[in-house]
């Protein structure tokens, strides 16, 4: 039952864990392209709270999202630990490269599928369908975030990728 909640058992073996608003989140390293120190972020006016702006990663313009407002977390200022996870999401409308602000990035970890449980329907801060499951690592809860779902439902990435062309 629990395994059906995550993409594959493989994904659980290779996760990158990061911190945001005091919570520990994780995404499979399969979708991680790189972790970078925040370069200058160009704000996009009128783009809403989830948009942090645009960054230049070696000549490629990549959008950056700040998910903290989505999870009702305070937007702490950038500090020495702040990183941007550059992720390659596989959306229905095509691949999309996106940066996600993380307050701190932990090591790559491996999780025991047995510890992964479904998200309780009430009493959590997570909007519906944003978390695939919750596992345990070093006595802490690790929230397995479903970024594809988040991008499609909350960041407007459900539109055809060539919409802008």
């Amino acid at each position: 039952m629990t395994l059906a909640l995550v993409s594959t058992e493989e994904d659980l073996k290779d996760l990158v864990a990061f911190e945001m608003g005091g919570e520990l989140l994780a995404v499979p390293t399969r979708i991680l392209r790189e972790v970078i120190e925040p370069p200058k972020i160009t704000r996009v006016p009128m783009a809403g709270v989830y948009s942090a702006g645009l960054i230049n990663v070696r000549g490629v313009v990549i959008p950056v999202t700040d998910l903290r407002p989505l999870f009702n977390m305070p937007q702490k200022d950038f500090d020495i630990d702040t990183r941007i996870l550059v992720l390659e999401l596989n959306l229905d409308a095509g691949p999309m490269t996106i940066g996600v602000i993380a307050e701190k990035v932990h090591a790559v970890l491996s999780m025991d599928p047995e510890t992964v449980q479904a998200v309780p329907t009430v009493g959590t801060r997570w909007p519906a369908q944003t978390i695939k499951g919750i596992g345990r690592w070093q006595d802490r809860f690790v929230n397995l975030i479903d970024l594809e779902r988040v991008a499609e439902q909350h960041l407007g990435a459900d539109q055809a990728a060539d919409h802008a062309a």
Binding site: T42, P45, M46, L155
Partner: protein, 663 residues
């Protein structure tokens, strides 16, 4: 087996050929006496036949053979170009296209058209010149008794996939049982040096005089330039004319003696013609991407060098700057294609429409030489077909109605293309009955597109035509009901970052204008500063820069109207609209920008300067905003947004107001 790549080459080759063929046929309709055009048609058909046969399109090759014969009759003066010939030829052309696209038209169609072709070319021709008559060149200088053909293939002939035995078989098929073949072995190396994979044998083939010269030459069609070849006629009465075919052009038909004059003309043409090369669009995109990166790197270098202030370095940097810009211009020019590359099919469409509707009209094309990015041009074809159909089907009236309205009986539909700043305007204009705003309004209310009390300007009412759901079944006719709807015209054009404008006067006609950006990759941009953020606007849209008047510095509404040079002008305060922070400038500026036929002013803090802007598309996360058409990377590596001024104006609801003022 033909692989996908070869198929693709074949497709590209034939595409250019059939386009050229159609153009020539349509042009012949206007100037039937143009011998050049006849030669052109003949040449295109001949090449199509050869290419088709090589790729296994037997039916196509066989059909074209007869089609070609009709034009051979014209070429040799045994028939003339008549409207009937053109009409039948266009139908034959359609069959060729259908066959090429792998459709399976009924086989009887071939025979039908063949006999129609024979009929239209035999009608006024001398009795001897029926289609089945032997090729006229044979009889010229006395009857040919035999052909002596000697040829030697290149050593790597078999390595590149050639099959000499098949060639010999083909020759024997042409010559029949009397054909004599002799191997020429004088070129064979000593046994020790012999590589069995190489081709060293030559052949002498004697064919009977009844064989046609062009049939013989066709065997070697694609190898002529790599091989040694000579074909000599042995004549009965007069001594044989020596011809060294190696010196002949590859152009089919050049061998025919009676065509020598024409051949000389085309040789001359061949000598000055530009050398063309086919490159896949993907590679061009690759180059464009790299040039884009280069331009960004160059901007960065310039930025660093000017900070260092070393004059030797500056000199090199300026040189690199010059080279990068040159490369950019050349690359963009490669991607630019003249509008004429697609007008051929419109000529044809107009021709067909005239036939189907029975409406008499002139189709005029202006500004065919106007160039646009290749991807843009290709996507424009369908929308333009739709607009043209509409213009003829719904726009033009029949002759009686026109005469009654005091107009010339013949209508005119004009397709024109011209530059306007960084845009290209392509318009389709008809002098028909025009659009009735009241009627459109009524229908839009019926369809629930607008409320009954909606206040709309003329242009807004016309724009309703392009709303999905406006077009209805009762409007659909055989002509206009097919293909894309007018709403698709709008979305296609907007997808190319363009817009559609409709102008019309009841009783006098309508004009549909597509406004499109010249290129999708790099623009000249003006970099502006607002607070501590920077934005780019396309320089071509900028009409001027003025100091902000005192009255403007005071307020803080996002939009306002001021009087500038004795004209009222809408001002957009970017600081307020974009909610920018940061210090203001003591001498803020207003950038005057042209958009949709009207001028607005953008209030900004500082003008940084103009520079090459490589447009990076926004991800779906930001592209739905519309206000920004893309982003670009600046010399210092930061990202700046490119403002789409027309969309910005629309987002602030100034659109209607301005249009009304302009009207």
């Amino acid at each position: 087996m033909i692989d996908a790549e070869t198929q693709e080459i074949f497709r590209q080759e034939t595409e250019a050929l059939i386009e050229s063929l159609q153009d020539a046929l349509l042009a012949l309709n206007k100037t039937p006496d143009d011998a050049e055009l006849v030669t052109q048609v003949f040449r295109d058909l001949h090449t199509l036949k050869g290419t088709g046969a090589m790729f296994g399109y037997a039916r196509l090759a066989e059909f074209i053979h007869d089609f070609e014969a009709a034009f051979e009759a014209v070429r040799s003066g045994n028939a003339t170009v008549t409207p009937d010939l053109i009409a039948v030829s266009l139908k034959a052309y359609d069959l060729i296209v259908a066959l090429l696209e792998g459709e399976e038209p009924p086989v009887e169609r071939d025979a039908e058209l063949k006999s129609a072709l024979a009929a239209v070319t035999a009608g006024d021709a001398p009795a001897a010149a029926s289609i089945d008559a032997p090729e006229p060149d044979v009889a010229e200088d006395g009857e040919v008794e035999a052909w002596i053909l000697t040829f030697k293939l290149p050593p790597d002939f078999m390595e590149i996939g050639g099959n000499p035995i098949a060639m010999l078989d083909e020759l024997i098929e042409i010559g029949g049982a009397d054909t004599k073949v002799r191997a020429l072995t004088d070129g064979l190396p000593a046994l020790a040096d012999l590589n069995p994979a190489e081709m060293h044998t030559g052949w002498e083939v004697i064919l009977p005089g009844g064989a046609s010269e062009s049939d013989i030459m066709d065997v070697f069609m694609f190898h002529e330039d790599q091989m040694e070849l000579s074909l000599k006629p042995v004549r009965k009465e007069k001594p044989a004319v020596q011809q060294d075919l190696r010196e002949e052009e590859l152009q089919p038909g050049a061998q025919q003696q009676e065509a020598e004059k024409k051949a000389a003309a085309s040789d001359r043409k061949g000598g000055t013609a530009k050398v063309q090369m086919r490159v896949s669009a993907e590679r061009l995109d690759d180059i464009m991407d790299r040039v884009g990166e280069l331009v960004i790197a160059e901007a960065r270098l310039t930025d660093l060098a000017s900070k260092l202030g070393n004059s030797d370095l500056m000199e090199v940097v300026e040189n690199i700057q010059r080279l990068a810009l040159g490369l950019r211009d050349t690359t963009m020019a490669i991607r630019l294609t003249p509008v004429s590359s697609i007008t051929g099919r419109f000529q044809r469409l107009a021709h067909d429409l005239a036939g189907k509707t029975g409406k008499d009209f002139d189709f005029v094309i202006e500004g065919e030489e106007t160039e646009l990015d290749k991807t843009v041009i290709e996507k424009l074809s369908d929308p333009l077909v739709h607009i043209l159909r509409n213009a003829v089907d719904h726009g033009l009236e029949d002759s009686d109605t026109r005469i009654a309205a005091g107009k010339p009986a013949r209508g005119t539909v004009t397709l024109s293309a011209r530059y306007s700043g960084a845009d290209v305007l392509i318009s389709v204009k008809d002098d028909g009955k025009g659009l009735d705003p009241d009627f459109i309004r009524g229908r839009a209310i019926d369809r629930g597109l607008i409320g009954e009390d909606a206040v709309l300007s003329r242009s807004e009412i016309f724009a309703l035509l392009m709303e999905p759901g406006f077009s209805t079944a009762e409007q659909i006719t055989d002509l206009s009901g097919r293909g894309v709807g007018t709403d698709v015209v709008k979305s296609t054009v907007e997808g190319l970052r363009g817009s559609v404008e409709i102008e019309s006067e009841l009783g006098a006609g309508s004009t549909f204008t597509l406004r499109l950006p010249l290129t999708l990759a790099i623009i000249e941009g003006l970099l502006l500063q607002v607070g501590d953020e920077r934005f780019t606007v396309p320089l071509a849209a900028v009409g001027g820069i003025v100091e902000q008047p005192e009255e403007l510095k005071k307020g803080s509404e996002p939009t306002t109207v001021i009087e500038l040079r004795e004209e009222l002008i809408s001002i957009l305060r970017l600081r307020e609209i974009f909610e920018c922070d940061g210090p203001t400038n003591e001498h803020p500026k207003v950038v005057l920008v042209e958009t949709g036929g009207t001028q607005v002013g953008l209030a900004v803090d500082r003008i940084i300067g103009s520079y090459q802007t490589v447009i990076k598309q926004l991800s779906p996360m930001h592209s739905r905003l519309n206000v920004f058409s893309g982003a670009t990377i600046l010399g210092d590596g930061d990202v700046a947004l490119i403002v789409d001024v027309a969309q910005l104006v629309r987002s602030q609801g100034l659109d209607n107001q301005n249009k009304e003022q302009a009207a």
